[in-house]
Each structure stands twice: as structure tokens, then as C-alpha cells.
Amino acid sequence: MLSRVAESLYWMSRYLERAEHTARLIDVDLQLRLDQSMESSTGRWLRLIEALRVPALLAGDVDALSLAHTLTFNRTNPSSIVSCVAAARENLRHVREQSSSEMWEQLNRLYLQMIGTPPEDSWILQSHAFFRAVQDGAHLFQGIADSTMAHGEGWHYIQLGRFVERTDVLAALIGAHFSRLAHPANQPVEGAGYLEWVGLLKCCAAFEAYCKAYSAELRPIRVAEFLLLNSEFPHSIRFSVESVHSALGRIGEITERKVAQPVRLAGRLRAALSFSQIEEIMAEGAHLYMENIRSQCVHVHSAIQQIYFDYPVETALAS
């Protein structure tokens, strides 16, 4: 597979994952606002800005609603939902002959839908439908990719991009939450704080899955255990890292490259998550642990970049 093609599939998938994640975060926030006082929603908003890594310049003193608008529609903001969907589409457009026509048509349709309705002042009233459409569109795209594209090298780059991005954004979200919201780790959360922890789970699409595992009684340590170490839930860190590792393993086999740097780095991260105990992590500080995961994620990304996308020609000619 052409390196450029692999890179485009990888980034397409990362952008789409980011669009879906941002849409879910803002959607959950706007929903929770309806039940909350100004004060507590401001606190959560600050965490959300941190989790989405919104530049200070943008965040400034702007009120939450107009910032939500910027994070959603602004094309000059490269991380806005519409920009991410456009970037995903542009990447796929560069390699559309490598995907199935159904995939392209779905992503193109999502894009046309996003830019089709110019946002009005009252957009916030219909915002839920909009954010839902982004998430549904991204899910539909994944489903179409899984069922119409050969699960070969290209498909694995799509998986890789999706889960590298997911690991990164989840770590940022969980880190921001645990660094700013103090609560005794092993005590059930009650009162006003309860909604904050529900919010965190919902931002990871994990509330229902958590309840099945632990009941609706929320304890920070259990929330952390579920979001970090659960091996079955697709929006947990461990699940995401395992997916990154196995995609890299398959890519390594298919390309028959002798170099094992990316898969080694991902495997090390996977092992750490497989054999860690949540008590140790909490004792160390969940947000520090998250920062460590994010920096390892960056290493994995650079290794992928150097081995598969942008390798020096001299070494390739020599081998």
C-alpha cells in the first residue's frame, strides 16, 4: 500500500473519531446544563475546555454558548466538528479508490449535511439533533467500513487511527476530570456532584455499560477502573490500546517489515494496562497516569509515522 494512502486513511479515521468525540462532549454538556446551577456548569465547562485542548486564545472570556458554537461550526478552528468532518472527507477524497464507494458516499453525505444547514442563533435548541447526527454518521461510517471494505492493510490503518485518537482524547478527558474534581475515591458520589460523574461516563458513552457492571452507585475508583482498565468496553483506554496494538501487529505481518518499533511501544503500553491495579493508579494520581499514557501515545504515533509513512529513502533502498 502506498505510504501516502496509508497516512490519509489513518488521518481520516483520527479526524472522524475526534469529530464524534467533540460532538458527544458538547452534547452531554448542553444536556446537563438544563439540570444544573450556573456555578457547577461553569466548573464542568472549564474541564471540557481542558479535555478538548481548546487554545486559551479561543477560550478567553467568551461565554459558553458562543464557544460551543465555535467548537462546532467554525471552519477557521481546525478542531471544530465541521472542520474535522471536512478534514476526514478531504483525506478520504485523496484515497477514495482505496475505500469502498459506500464509505465515501456516507462520509460525503455526512459532510454535506454538516455544511448544509447554516447555524442560526437558535441553533442551541436543535443542537441535540445535530450532535446526534454527527455521532450516528460516524458510527454508520464505521459500520459501512467494517462490512464493505476488505479487512486488509487499509482497514487496519483506519482502525489504528480511530483507536490512537480515542486513547488520546479519552486520556485527556479523564485526566482533566480527575485533576479538577476532588472526591474520596472509594465513597459513593451523592448530591450535586453526582451529575458530574454521570457526565464523565456519558462523555465516554459509558453510563449504561458502567451501570451493568457496577450498578448506578458511582464511586470515583470504580469509574476510573471502568474507563481505564475494562477490557470489553470499546471506549475504555485499555480496549483502545489493545486495538492499537493488534492493528499494528497485523500491519507488521502484512508489510513484512523487520522493524518492530511501533508494535513494541504499543505492546508495552498494553502490558502496563493489563497488569495494573486501579488502587496503584489512584494512589499515584489518575491524572498523572493519564499524562503518561498520552505521552506514550505520542511516541506510538511518531513511530508509525517514521516506519510506515515518511521513512528515509536511503534506508529503504539499503534493505
Binding site: 500500500m1 502506498l2 505510504s3 501516502r4 496509508a6 471552519r75 478531504e90 477524497r93 485523496h94 484515497v95 477514495r96 479508490e97 464507494s101 465515501w104 458516499e105 460525503n108 453525505r109 454535506l112 455544511i115 492493510e153 500491519i251 502484512i254 508489510t255 513484512e256 517489515r257 510506515y308 509513512f309 521513512y311 529513502v313 529503504a316 533502498l317 534493505s319
Partner: protein, 511 residues
């Protein structure tokens, strides 16, 4: 020239689908001089009489939407977002009887063989120049003549393997060649896309008509490219073929992706390729992989910054040397543009005669060479009746249509001609044939041309069909997509001039 509209409708319907159908001196593809539908249009004509315009309009909207969703669009950069528009397509098929098609096939086969012999000759011994059939200075002054190609031997001596020739139908019903496109002809994906849509809109009519299939085009193209591979010399069995595109900003990018996908070959950009020791490689995730044949959709000028334009970012440094070493085949070859120069066009009938000893099967349009004094004087005096074209331009640019021009425009062109007579030619204004189109809820007549696609790898393949381009504005003679043109599907019938439905009706009446 008396213009009339079709009035004598043989139907009592009050909501005629032909309220404003223009008939005059131009050849009409559907109606004959007696305003009767031609035999091969009968079935379509009956369908149109019974069809409610709303239905057709709905089909049109569905078709437009499907083009938009598939991304068969070109980009208009008038704001920072870049608006994407579809190429308009018209739903009514243009129908060509089998016997007319066979003549087109023979004529274009003859033409591509002769043009390939011509290219080989001028890049080698130059017999045709020595024999004064084609003037030497016309060849050497052509912007597309590549002296780098002198004496270079290429696989099977095939210079042009992919060609799209533009045909027009004259008022007397004969087809003539308007120009040859021997460099990187485009539009074949629209031919295939239009067909896909029409099969959905008129399934029964399509089946009843007995239309020749065109879906094997990509396969035929792949076979052509394989036949040109130098791979036998390098000892590997399967040639590795890639389509070189200028990239996503090219207006034909959709076509490039489409063809690469249909053929199952890699779509590469210049930055994916590199040359080492005169061998072309592409950069893949499993390391470097050798490339044997490049179907290039990048113009000569931009192919290799070391050899041609040094400011090109689209090409591959060193590509020409690898080509010269015989390690890679380019299709089409470099320097083919000299044979589709609009002034060289005037000599194509002599070229055919010279190499094949035959008269051209499809005639040319009368062309005035402005380097000849007499012809130039005639043109300068009659500019209001003629079409003047720049020889190196395409896409309907650099063109003056005399009868539709202002005195100021004519004066501007007069100055251009006098300054650089070699750069211009003139032709009579051709009254292109018209075909029925569905526009604004009614069937209207619009001027059309026809671009069949010819493949050549030792034997010639024409997929029966082509791109019928339509001048959508009433009265306009310019069919280029960049100038407001659209396209429609072209049905070449398997039978002489009757549709299957007619044949069945005849059989039934005979029982």
C-alpha cells in the same frame, strides 16, 4: 435559413412534451426533414409522449443527487470554502444506429493508426517531412514537439494508446472529425456514469433498444496498458501499473480515482514516486516497489522537473531518464501533442493517405492555415462567418465564434492573428447537429458533439459509445464543460437502425 418550431405533433395530448422544439437547417438527431421521428428514435419518441414531465424531473433530481453524493463534481473557487458543482447530465439518450457506428469505428481506427505512424516518423527518420507532405517548420514550431524524443524507441512504437476524438455531425448528416485529443483525453468516467444513471431511469426502454454495452472499458484499458509493459525484459511476470494524477485539485480527479479503482491499479501522485538508478519506484508501507507502466494524466510539461518545467511539483525528478532507459512505459508517450495541434489537424487527411494509401473514412472540417497568405487574407475578410481557434488551447478557451462576436472581439483577434499567424487557425462555423434534451420540464433541441474513446496497443479497441457533450444554453455551439456544457449517455444500437422493440413488433405483425 428559416427557423421553425415543431408544430405538427401526431398526438392529441394537450400537454405536449415538445412545446418549443427548434428545427431548422441543423441536422436533428431525432426528427427527419419531414418532422417525423427517425426509425431508431421511434421508441424513445413514444416513451416521451407518454411520460409525465414531473416523473422525468424527479428522475433528474435523483440523478443529480446521486452525482453529488458520489462526488462526481468539479470545484468552483469563488469563496474560501470552494463550492462543488456537478457536471450537468441530460437524461435523454443520444442514439446511434449500428451501421453508422461501424463507419465511425473504421474511420477512427484508420486515424489512430496513421497518427501513430506519423509520430514515429517525425521522431525518427522524418520521411513525411522530406517528402514535403507536412511542412517541417509546422512540426518544429509546435509547442508540443519534444526534441528529447528524437530517436528514442518506445515499446511497440505506440505513441498514442489512449485517444478521444471529437466528432460532429454536419447538416447533411455526415460525421466529421473536429479535433483529436492525443495527450490526456478525459471524460470517459462521465460516459460510464451517465450509462449507470440511464439504466436506472429507463430500464425497460434500455433493454428493448438493444444497446451495446460499454462497461468493459476499464478492463480494455488495463489490457492496453499491460500490453505496453517493458516487463518481459526485466524478468518479472506481472507488470506493476500505476495511474499518475496531478492530485485532488485537478478537475478530472474523480475520473482518475474511478479508473484506478475499476482497473485495480495504484493511483499515485508525483510525490509517491521516486527514481533511483533509472528505475521508478513507489513508496509503500512495505518499502519501495518498482513501477513498470504509468498511465499518466499529467501533461508533458509537468512530468519531470529535471527535463521539462523545473517549477513542477506534480512530476517525478528523473522520470524521463528512466523512460529513455526503457525501464518504464508512459501512456500516452511524451510529445504526442504535436499531432493534435489544431494546425497539424489540417494535414491529417494527407497523413492518412501518405502512410496507409487510403482516403480518410471520416472527413475533416475545412481548416484555414493562417500562415498561408491567401488563406489568411480570406479569413481576415470573413471573420464574422468563421470560427478562429488558438492552436494550443483546448476546453473552448482562446476561441472566437464569428457570427456571435462583436466588432471589438473580431478586431482583437485580427491583431492576434497578424502578430502570430502560426498560433491560430480558422474554420467555417459549423452548425452542429441537435439532439433532444430534457430542460425546464420540456423536451428541447440542443447542439451536441460526440467523443468516442479509442484504445490502441497493436490492435484497436473502441468501446461502442462515447461522451455526447451538449451545449445546454439555447443557441450555443460550445459544448465544453468549462463553458456551460453538459453531457448525456450515448446508445449505440446492436442492430442497423431499429430498436429491439420495433423488431419484435415487426415479428409480431408477420405472424
Amino acid at each position: 435559413m428559416t427557423a421553425s418550431t415543431l408544430t405538427r405533433l401526431r398526438t392529441p395530448l394537450s400537454n405536449s412534451p415538445f412545446p418549443d422544439y427548434q428545427l431548422d437547417d441543423a441536422y436533428d438527431e431525432m426528427f427527419d426533414r419531414q418532422e417525423e421521428p427517425r426509425d431508431h428514435y421511434h421508441a424513445l419518441y413514444r416513451t416521451l409522449l407518454n411520460l409525465r414531465p414531473e416523473e422525468l424531473r424527479k428522475s433528474q433530481q435523483a440523478a443529480d443527487l446521486s452525482f453529488l453524493h458520489q462526488g462526481i463534481t468539479f470545484t468552483v473557487y469563488n469563496d474560501n470554502e470552494g463550492t462543488e458543482r456537478i457536471f450537468p447530465n441530460d437524461l435523454l439518450p443520444r442514439i446511434i444506429p449500428g451501421d453508422e457506428w461501424r463507419k465511425i469505428e473504421q474511420g477512427l481506427t484508420q486515424r489512430i493508426i496513421a497518427l501513430n505512424l506519423f509520430l514515429k516518423d517525425i521522431y525518427h527518420e522524418g520521411h513525411i517531412l522530406a517528402d514535403n507532405i507536412v511542412p517541417r517548420e509546422l512540426v518544429y514550431s509546435c509547442r508540443h514537439f519534444r526534441r528529447e524524443m528524437r530517436g528514442l524507441n518506445i515499446p511497440r512504437d505506440i505513441y498514442v494508446s489512449i485517444c478521444g476524438s471529437d466528432l460532429v455531425r454536419l447538416p447533411d448528416g455526415t460525421f466529421a472529425v473536429l479535433e483529436d485529443n492525443l495527450r490526456v483525453p478525459s471524460g470517459v468516467s462521465y460516459m460510464l456514469a451517465n450509462r449507470k444513471v440511464l439504466k436506472r431511469v429507463f430500464p425497460t426502454l434500455f433493454r428493448d433498444y438493444g444497446v451495446s454495452p460499454i462497461d468493459h472499458y476499464a478492463q480494455a484499458l488495463l489490457a492496453t496498458l499491460r500490453a505496453l509493459s517493458p516487463v518481459s525484459s526485466s524478468g518479472r511476470n506481472e507488470p506493476s501499473i500505476a495511474l499518475l494524477t496531478p492530485g485532488v485539485f485537478n478537475s478530472a480527479y474523480f475520473e482518475h480515482t474511478f479508473l484506478a479503482q475499476q482497473m485495480g491499479i495504484e493511483l499515485v501522485e508525483g510525490r509517491d514516486l521516486l527514481v533511483h538508478d533509472n528505475i521508478v519506484y513507489m513508496r509503500t508501507t512495505s518499502g519501495l516497489r518498482r513501477v513498470d507502466v504509468i498511465y499518466r494524466r499529467v501533461d508533458d510539461d509537468f512530468l519531470d522537473p529535471l527535463c521539462f518545467r523545473p517549477d513542477s511539483n506534480l512530476g517525478v525528478p528523473g522520470l524521463f531518464n528512466a523512460y529513455r532507459a526503457g525501464n518504464v512505459t508512459l501512456a500516452n508517450a511524451i510529445g504526442t501533442g504535436v499531432a493534435d495541434d489544431k494546425a497539424m489537424y489540417a494535414y491529417v487527411p494527407s497523413i492518412i493517405k501518405y502512410y496507409l494509401g487510403e482516403d480518410p473514412i471520416i472527413p475533416n472540417i475545412k481548416t484555414y492555415l493562417l500562415t498561408e497568405k491567401d488563406e489568411r487574407n480570406y479569413v481576415l475578410e470573413n471573420m464574422d462567418k468563421l470560427v478562429v481557434k488558438a492552436v494550443g488551447e483546448s476546453g473552448g478557451y482562446g476561441m472566437l465564434i464569428g457570427p456571435l462576436s462583436s466588432a471589438q472581439q473580431r478586431d482583437d483577434f485580427r491583431q492576434l492573428i497578424l502578430a502570430q499567424p502560426r498560433n491560430y487557425i480558422a474554420q467555417p462555423t459549423i452548425n452542429l447537429s441537435r439532439a433532444p434534451c430534457f430542460l425546464d420540464g420540456a423536451v428541447q433541441a440542443r447542439h451536441v458533439d460526440l467523443r468516442p474513446y479509442i484504445l490502441y496497443s497493436g490492435n484497436v479497441t473502441l468501446v461502442p459509445g462515447g461522451l455526447t457533450r451538449v451545449a445546454l444554453r439555447r443557441g450555443s455551439l460550445v459544448v465544453n464543460s468549462s463553458q456551460g456544457g453538459g453531457s448525456k449517455d450515448t446508445w449505440v444500437l446492436r442492430h442497423e437502425n431499429k430498436s429491439n422493440a420495433d423488431l419484435q413488433a415487426i415479428e409480431r405483425s408477420a405472424d
